[in-house]
Symmetry: C2
Subunit: 411 residues, 2 copies
Amino acid sequence: MKKNVLIIGAGGVAQVVAHKCAQNADLLGDIHIASRTEAKCEAILASVREKGAHKTDGALTAHAVDATDSKAVAALIEKTGAQIVINVASAFVNMHVLEACIETGVAYIDTAIHEEPDKICETPPWYANYEWKRRDRCAEKGVTAILGAGFDPGVVNAYARFAIDEYMDEVKSIDIVDINAGSHGKYFATNFDPEINFREFTGTVYAWQNGEWTSNEMFEVGRDWDLPVVGTQRAYMSGHDEVHSLAANYPNADVRFWMGFGEHYINVFTVLKNIGLLSEQPVKLAEGQEVVPLKVVKACLPDPSSLAPDYTGKTCIGDLVKGTKGGEEVEVFVYNVADHKEAYEEVGSQGISYTAGVPPVAAAMLIATGEWDAREMRNVEEMDPKPFLKVLGQIGLGTWVRKGGTDEKLY
Amino acid sequence: MKKNVLIIGAGGVAQVVAHKCAQNADLLGDIHIASRTEAKCEAILASVREKGAHKTDGALTAHAVDATDSKAVAALIEKTGAQIVINVASAFVNMHVLEACIETGVAYIDTAIHEEPDKICETPPWYANYEWKRRDRCAEKGVTAILGAGFDPGVVNAYARFAIDEYMDEVKSIDIVDINAGSHGKYFATNFDPEINFREFTGTVYAWQNGEWTSNEMFEVGRDWDLPVVGTQRAYMSGHDEVHSLAANYPNADVRFWMGFGEHYINVFTVLKNIGLLSEQPVKLAEGQEVVPLKVVKACLPDPSSLAPDYTGKTCIGDLVKGTKGGEEVEVFVYNVADHKEAYEEVGSQGISYTAGVPPVAAAMLIATGEWDAREMRNVEEMDPKPFLKVLGQIGLGTWVRKGGTDEKLY
């Protein structure tokens, strides 16, 4: 059954979501997109039309909305007749948009954990601070809410569940590795909103190890990974959303997240952080003006969506999952490889936006078919991973597994 | 004859000026200090009283003034009966303060070239853009205006003139070398106002070579210098005020300025500059606020005056002057070595502020004695250097010369 979609947000990921929804409008129905700046939504829809991506003659309409205003979002849901909201706006608005979905009884999908602008790195598990407090209300109202359904978190949660279900009796560790071996040609840029990007690395690095939360500093724990396609890459243990739900669902496994960084990135990050320029707390200028330094850094850096045209190279994101099967040690690496240039040619966005934007559309398609219409709040690993990986393979993100030194395409 | 002094500014250099004026109040008379924030002036005077530095029972008084308002400065000059204004406020106010001195007919001393907030690195010679346009008016009114009378510019201009007068018939080159081999123990800090400090290095590097202005990028031309006390240090050709007057006064000599930088400073500077954080042009934040990035960097960095208590090590600033005498090649290095800790113990400021703040007081003392009361506008090398170097030696900044491998104290 067709389900109309309302996309919230108008950044690089929203552009991918809009293209993918349009390509699959035969399943999804009317497509609406809303953000603070309607012109940004219009630009995205123009790009969809330009690529001839829209498969039906259903609505393809832009709106302005302040997504921190739940009532305004609820009114827009009513007005558009949306049945699924794909929220890919700033993580600061997540709970406001979820409230609007609970209020109006429609499905909710996001790709990142909620954050409050003035708080960095709250106590683990992070989902318990905002999302899981709304579990009961989602269940009472029969609202399907799929949390963290981007690539990481999202697809990597499904990879973990798939690897465990498919290859082992018992899981011992889940190591998620995210490598962007692409090049944007700029002196420095973040691949998505700098305000969110840097916040990931300015707080404590939480991991779940030996049945408890452990904490480290960013760039304290590094490891070289030998990976398919991208080769040997150095990645550092980082805090990340999916660690916080996977640890709850697989408490006997060690759960860690590793993000790849080059020396140049680390140097720039270290300089900015040590000077205090990544702070979300306002400073007072000599002239009296109050300013949040991180917002100024954001304004100085290239807009992540501007990187797409010249981005080349590949990403490799996957899960190294270790456990036992019939008493034997078993180890698999389930992964995807994406190409920046191919992403740009298809949807006008770079590979990081592509890997983040395709999965929530796959989730929406599974809600529309009923396969993922859980009528309660779920993290991705709490859903059957197979239909998800199958749809992902169909709409642009293949799944491979490396096992015993051999790489095999699964979906 | 005693001459009352009005100090404009309340930063680290102003603190040194206030202490040194107080120590020499038997020659200088009443001492007044004014800045936008009167409390900062009061704090400086409290430090003067605490050290028991004030030699007389003359006035030692703080005032509030907006130094960009010439009329307000003129009114304060009239009110205080000041006969010499020592301007060590931001370089942005210089011409406003000079106008007030011309208006009221009192002597003017500054330590840096005038700058307009929205312009970086104007066309050479820099003094011709603002200061020298007021030469005729100073002469008409009989106003003594000593430009750039800090250490560099200032003492190094006197060193150049002294070296040429004393040791050669003809000058071929003047290389000014400024090395701070001290350590403040912070991750990163500038030794004076970051807004002015960084502006020195974001523009074109002008030098006067082979009878014309040459231009380079910052950090493009580096050279190792073997110097007294501080040893071998790497310094980079930089734009600096004194090059612009020395080139006019010694057009047949090559005139260059070299500033010492460690790799860490260059790295931080390069990151901030390449990202655009050293820009004086406002950027617009996502929320609509307009902000000058450089002012945010300034707000994040330590206040230069806060570095003083923990600053250790020495500075070495001098002029390598080459020429001929009786047909023979001759080469001398005239220099000063200052110690951060000694400066702090004497006047509560670090060595960079000390070397910048003592010279304008020496100049004021020479105006009071009449030796430097030129009744027109002068750059420091246009004044007799000997009485200046003599007073400097008496009040805290000795002069040495290295010639033929031997170091000798001159003053």
